[in-house]
């Protein structure tokens, strides 16, 4: 694998550009949209991205130049094609197309979810993991099988991060909700039963979030936060374990912003230890949304000839990871892994 790719992420609140090559991240410049109150407003987030797009792109090019990587060395431009907020995606796609035309290099459209998986495989020893990807908008369990990353289980309504945010907003805590809930949970004294919704391999969080808000009427914030976390995390760990049993894989990779939670990590670690599986968490900068992961998957795709014509580079707010043909892994990837064991 060879080449240098500039990638831009901007599916939601973090606008981030990075330049990577096969060895490492050469440069990364980000600017986060921070809502003054409440949650992310899609239009305002898109306006933020439009305002700062040139800042992050110029910034990352300058930073790379200082390290001896000139703009002329860039082989391709990649961008988050989806899933994400439509307005944000379109803004970032416009910037990416313009850059590709200016530098006269190919354009690569990256699936945001798969970028989380691939950066985890790059930055941890995981080779063929079951990935638990839990962020604001997404909650999925993914694993590679026969040419594609399959979704083994996912949320039927909202992502776990959004469920936390919604509760936090109702409870008068700030945004984002996850870190505050984690803090409150530490001082709890009892567990309050809350709805545990796993349907086959799929998850549902909206009812749980509402029930947690209701529970605040008769219980302390600490107990509710604790019970909410325990219930929600038990759900995602259960589905991850099922996917392990089903696929026969023996690695778990954690991805997405919610993965910062220490209790979630602990539960996954216990599950993996008991099953004899390895558990991997990338360092924090690669967990939440970041430009490096978009640039890295862009590099993998560029190297395997998976590029876009400008005319066909529409964004897709509902882009599914299982719609992507995995061109960057060898066809016999799974068998190779099996013979290694």
């Amino acid at each position: 694998m060879k080449g240098t790719v500039l990638g831009i992420e901007g599916t939601a609140w973090n606008l981030s550009a990075a330049i990577v090559n096969e060895q490492d991240v050469i440069a990364e410049v980000s600017d986060m949209y921070r809502p003054p109150t409440g949650g992310i407003h899609p239009r305002e987030a898109a306006q933020h991205h439009a305002k700062y797009a040139s800042y992050v792109v110029k910034g990352v090019l300058e930073e790379a130049k200082k390290k001896g990587v000139d703009a002329s060395k860039i082989d391709a431009i990649s961008f988050s094609q989806g899933p994400g907020l439509g307005a944000c995606l379109r803004t970032v796609a416009t910037a990416a197309r313009m850059l590709a035309i200016t530098l006269d290099v190919p354009l690569v459209g990256v699936n945001h979810c798969l970028a989380h998986v691939e950066v985890g495989r790059w930055k941890t020893p995981a080779t063929d993991p079951v990935t638990l990807y839990v962020s604001g908008a997404n909650s999925q369990v993914l694993a590679y099988r026969m040419g594609r990353y399959r979704v083994f289980g996912e949320t039927l309504d909202i992502g776990l991060g959004n469920a936390f945010d919604k509760f936090a907003r109702n409870a008068g805590l700030g945004h984002p909700g996850g870190p505050q809930i984690e803090q409150f949970a530490k001082g709890a004294s009892k567990y309050i039963p809350l709805p545990y919704v796993v349907k086959g391999m799929d998850l549902s969080f909206s009812g749980l979030s509402t029930a947690a808000t209701e529970a605040l009427k008769n219980n302390s914030m600490k107990d509710v936060c604790y019970s909410y976390q325990e219930t929600a995390f038990a759900m995602v760990v259960e589905v991850t374990e099922r996917a392990l049993a089903h696929t026969g894989k023996n690695e778990v990779l954690l991805a997405g912003g919610v993965g910062a939670n220490m209790r979630l990590r602990e539960m996954l670690d216990i599950m993996c230890t008991e099953r004899g599986a390895s558990f991997y968490v990338p360092e924090k900068r690669f967990m939440g949304d970041n430009g490096a992961m978009i640039a890295y998957l862009g590099l993998l795709m560029y190297d395997s000839g998976n590029i876009l014509d400008i005319e066909n580079s529409h964004v897709n707010p509902n882009f599914r990871p299982d719609d992507v043909d995995v061109t960057w892994l060898p066809k016999d990837f799974e068998e190779r892994r099996e013979t290694c064991i």
Binding site: P193, Y196, A234, M267
Partner: protein, 190 residues
Amino acid sequence: MYLTSGAEATVKVEKGIIIKERVPKSYRLKELDERIRKERTKAEARLLSEARRAGVPTPIIYDIDNSTIKMQYLDGTALRSVIDEKLSEQIGILVAELHMAGIIHGDLTTSNLILVNYRIYMIDFGLSFFDSCTEARGVDVHVLFQTFESTHDNHEKLIEAFCRGYRQEFRQADEVLERVKEIEKRGRYA
């Protein structure tokens, strides 16, 4: 003797009786763990009985407690190794009866269908639930077709035969089978 040990439960045979136990998970809170295992054990036992009432042969339940179901051991062959078109048509009839009773099996595979004296039994209702919508029925059938495709060479004939049986019994069959095609296109791993 252990038959299987999945992510959730162990199944063993003792003195000619099947004992299915939902094992504790130490990653989750004890209180929550006990609640989940109890709810699911109860639900599974109920679905097993309801299915039988609807005309679908299932193992007879002898006893249940908070996490264990004791039931009839079926001395037969998994359809996985003996399936042919005639049997597949019969599966179609059985699944139709199950769906008409408002039950979704949730894990229809040829390993969960056992042939005993020319009679097909349905086992493992661990992922079953009550639902009467086309989507849930479609996914149920889709999962079965996937096992046909992955384990049997003549899967097209088997699918045809299944559809014959399913249509013969079930008025809404066409609607469900249409949905199955749509689900296949989605490519979602179900």
